[in-house]
Amino acid sequence: MGAFALEAAFDAPPGVTALFGHSGAGKTTIVNAVAGLIRPEAGRIVLGERVLFDRAAGIALPPPRRRIGMVFQEGRLFPHMSVRANLGYAARATGRRPDPAEEARVVEMLGIGDLLSRRPARLSGGEKQRVAIGRALLSRPDLLVMDEPLASLDTARKEEILPWLERLRDEVRVPILYVSHAVEEVARLATSLVLLRDGRVEQAGPVEALLADPAIAPRFGMREAGAVLTGTVTAHHPDGLSEIAVSAGALLLPQVPHAPGSSIRIRIEAQDIILSRGRPEGLSALNILPGEVSAVRMGEGPGALVQLRCGADLLLARITRRSAEALALAPGVACHAVLKSVAVARADVGGSGVAPADAVARGIETRGD
């Protein structure tokens, strides 16, 4: 292994902690070290109160003893076993009596009931990943690590599997460490975000705050930058639009596949927001949210990033420097965010981390609970 110094300390609270960074930033190295698949030359890895690795103290737990469930990019299902046998592998490997109720819960949560007697060779990419997640969950881990699980899937498969991952996040009590370099996955799934660059943690915090931070936005790429906000679906209109209540008002978006009353998370790309000092009239855009500028960051080129506080949510808008100066945008200035309904892609809307009451009751048990 090349000489690579990693310094990373971060919390992984319940929900999905996304580890974001570009290739070479050290994400896979970290998860492999955490899982025990590679052995660092120096350092310390602690999970909660358990020391997994401590070079100085001579502690290095082998992977079977770490109780960390891993979901790999390639799935890595055992080709000589059926799906059912794959799922039950951890129980057999540790000499545990399998719990049919636990298995049934996981199978139902991931929607793999029809696949149980199939061999991995007969599964699609998305199905393989769901089985891989089920297999890792059934090993009763203290931490579930997913190393770029969607990287080898095409867009359609990713879209298909994301709702299952949201469900996983909302219903399972095990913290999830989700490694990715894809902003849209992180925006959709993460509860908290850890930014990694060259082996060091640059920033860590709640996903809403980090995605709306104009200082960090360049790291995601200007075209991908954008904030997420949470809203509640209030109604589906007959003309194909859905109304969503957010803290600063209401949004109208193309029909979302969530029932009225459900909580959803919406990602709004910075380049899709138009800013207006006064409330504009006669526009085709249906979404106009009042807010206040909280931060402005001028770019090196012609662009500028403006952070807006709309009610309890933070939005990020990308406009030109010229306009920012012309409109005299500065922290404290009242401003409106204008958003076209059709600009929000289906893939940018997902279930939110705010679990409705019954999902809590259905929570999956894990060891130590």
Binding site: P62, G69, P79, A90, A93, T94, S139
Partner: protein, 237 residues
């Protein structure tokens, strides 16, 4: 067995040679499988000083003249050799001029083929599957038994069949080590050789040659079919 058609067609001596060859080759393969597996895994996965030396020793029977191997066996496991006498005193196993000696010769000659086939299989196993198994809580032994072993099964089957086929055809080492005693150490090739020495023995020799060809083809076919069946079972096809 006297009235049986093949035995009648071949003649008593030839039939005896055939049966002996099958017995020798089967025992040779079965008993060398555990060692073949162990050595193959060691060579494929081990990192230790002397690994290349071990590799060389394993392949020696492949490149040494079989008569040389046979003579070395005679020196060590024959009546006067040190390992030979020790085995006889401790376990009562005698190799000299016995079918057990033929089996030992067949095993030694087939060993490199077995190890090569199994080693290739081991090297082809996706280590990432083994990693996944270990993150699910499986110890190294369990990973080997539940993941590695099933996946190398086609290679083990192929190695066993190759070793068996080699053992059936073993001549030089056998005849040097345990000579050519009908009923005891006269295997198929030795019998053919003996028949050709005798005037009028060509017919018997030819019949045995035909049998040898049939068995060889059957072994190759079986090896293909079995290997494919196993590969299908483990999802590689």
């Amino acid at each position: 067995m006297g009235g049986w058609l093949p035995s009648a067609w071949l003649g008593h001596d030839a039939w005896q040679a055939l049966v002996l060859s099958l017995k020798v080759a089967t025992w040779a393969t079965l008993l060398s499988l555990p060692a073949g597996l162990a050595v193959a895994v060691l060579l494929a996965r081990g990192r230790f000083p002397g690994r290349q030396l071990l590799n060389g020793i394993v392949h020696l029977p492949l490149v040494l003249p079989p008569v040389v191997t046979g003579y070395l066996l005679l020196l060590s496991f024959g009546r006067r050799g040190w390992p030979g006498t020790w085995l006889e005193e401790t376990f009562g196993i005698v190799f000299a001029f016995r079918w057990t000696g033929a089996a030992l010769a067949a095993a030694i000659m087939g060993f490199p083929l077995m190890v090569r086939a199994i080693r290739l299989s081991v090297e082809a196993v996706d280590r990432r599957l083994e990693e996944a198994a270990s993150t699910l809580g499986a110890s190294r032994v369990r990973v080997f038994l539940t993941v590695t072993l099933p996946l190398i099964l086609p290679g083990v089957v192929a190695g066993a069949i190759l070793s068996f086929a080699r053992g059936l055809g073993e001549f030089g080492a056998t005849i040097t080590f345990v000579s050519n005693i009908p009923g005891e150490t006269q295997t198929l090739p030795s019998a053919i050789y003996a028949f050709l020495q005798v005037p009028g023995g060509e017919t018997s020799a030819l019949r045995l040659v035909a049998v040898s060809i049939v068995i060889a083809m059957a072994a190759l076919l079986a090896s293909e079919v079995l290997a494919r069946a196993v590969a299908r079972r483990i999802g590689q096809e």
